[in-house]
């Protein structure tokens, strides 16, 4: 799109800042071509990139079980879910691109380890019950985080989140149903479900980020209305709703404290699967190169798809 050039003297800058502040204060949405502070743009790119990366890295632990799903029904459900995660990644990458950062650049940064994805996906899926625990707890925590993002001050991000939240509900319910079937099954199946919940509970609580007093970006993000609630507030909400859900499953939630040292280690790259996840992502990207090249060659031959 063509942009109209304008001067950048100090008065203009102050007026634009005031217009931006007023829009945020009035709960209006900021749209791609509006003026916005550089730090607001950078913060959004960081958060949306991390979010998009999490969606596509998150395909790996679940895809691990597609070939071993116990029935055709469960296999079809799991494939649909993993496909949704790819879709969510694409919604978010295209929303991030409205800020002037290309998808290619974001993927390069992910592959180079310069941008993060959620620490939760650095844990392994050891049993079939883990697929259920991910749906119930990991997607449940994600929904708790994401519903307020539907009212985020940046329009394209908020719109992407509306679409994602609609689809996440299926993810959570299929996981819950899967765990319920196991919990009501044989003693061995019940034990498998309980073991999965025991392992995924703490990492799910870590998904809300560090405690408020240690969260570097929170205050500014809340002032900009990118974020609407603090990490601890959302974590508390999730714990409250999970208790009765666990009771209905006939499973128990672990008691104790979050091990923040473990969280820091996983963030540093020392989780159980950090290397495996990023290596797999790079390999998938490289091995898909011939498909992308073929599509380009076909488009060139038929004279379509002129470069933008």
């Amino acid at each position: 799109m063509a942009t109209v050039a304008y001067g950048t003297d100090r008065t203009d800058e102050a007026a634009r800042q005031a217009a931006f502040d007023a829009a945020v204060a009035a709960d209006e949405r900021i749209e791609p071509r509006d003026w916005m502070p550089d730090a607001y743009r950078a913060s959004l790119v960081r958060q949306m990139a991390q979010h998009a990366h999490s969606e596509i890295i998150g395909m790996q632990p679940e895809a691990n079980w597609i070939t071993r799903a116990p029935s055709l029904r469960r296999k079809a459900i799991l494939m649909a879910k993993v496909q949704d995660e790819a879709g969510h990644g694409l919604y978010l990458y295209s929303a991030a691109e409205t800020l002037g950062t290309s998808r290619e650049e974001l993927l390069d940064k992910l592959h180079a380890g310069r941008q993060r994805y959620s620490s939760i996906f650095n844990y392994p899926t050891l049993t079939w019950a883990d697929v259920g625990a991910i749906g119930w707890l990991v997607d449940g925590a994600a929904i708790t985080n994401q519903v307020p993002l539907c009212r985020c001050s940046y329009g394209p991000y908020a719109r992407a989140m509306v679409r994602i939240c609609k689809e996440e509900s299926f993810h959570q319910r299929q996981g819950y149903e899967l765990l319920l079937a196991l919990s009501r099954g044989t003693p061995a199946q019940h034990a498998m479900a309980q073991d999965a919940v025991d392992r995924w509970w703490w990492p799910s609580l870590m998904m809300f980020g560090p405690p408020d007093e240690e969260s570097g970006h929170s205050a500014q993000s809340m002032a900009w209305k990118i974020k609407r609630h603090s990490n601890d507030e959302l974590r508390r909400r999730f714990i409250e709703i999970s208790g009765p859900q666990a009771d209905a499953l006939g499973l128990t939630l672990p008691t104790g404290e979050i091990d923040w040292d473990e969280f820091k280690e996983v963030l540093k790259g020392n989780g159980p699967c950090n290397e495996q996840r990023i290596a797999q992502r790079r390999r998938a990207h490289e091995e898909g190169a011939w498909v992308r090249d073929a599509a380009v060659a076909y488009a060139a031959k038929h004279g379509e798809g002129k470069p933008s």
Binding site: V4, R33, A300
Partner: protein, 95 residues
């Protein structure tokens, strides 16, 4: 064009017959046909559409947010374009 600079396409979806196409989002694809297929997979996985348009993003010319006021202002002082501007005597029907 290399695989890294596939053009961007804007996707419009008609959710059911009788409604107009609405902007759903955007995606990258090497040509229009692939854009259409990708749009089908990305934006209508749950039967959200019966028809899709894809338009190269570069073909869109947009009004500038900086001119918002002067651009849209002319309509602001013309309330007589709305039916509620007119006072009609009580009891007059079908008007």
């Amino acid at each position: 064009m290399t695989a890294t600079d596939w053009p961007l396409w804007e996707v419009f979806v008609r959710s059911r017959r009788g409604l107009s196409h609405t902007h759903a989002g955007s995606l990258h694809a090497p040509d229009a046909e692939m854009a259409l297929r990708n749009a089908r997979d990305l934006y209508t996985r749950r039967s959200e559409g019966v028809s899709i348009w894809v338009v190269p993003s570069t073909a869109v010319t947009a009004s500038s947010p900086d001119e918002k006021d002067s651009f849209f202002e002319p309509a602001g002082d013309k309330p007589y374009r709305h039916p509620t501007f007119y006072e009609i005597p009580e009891g007059v029907q079908h008007l």
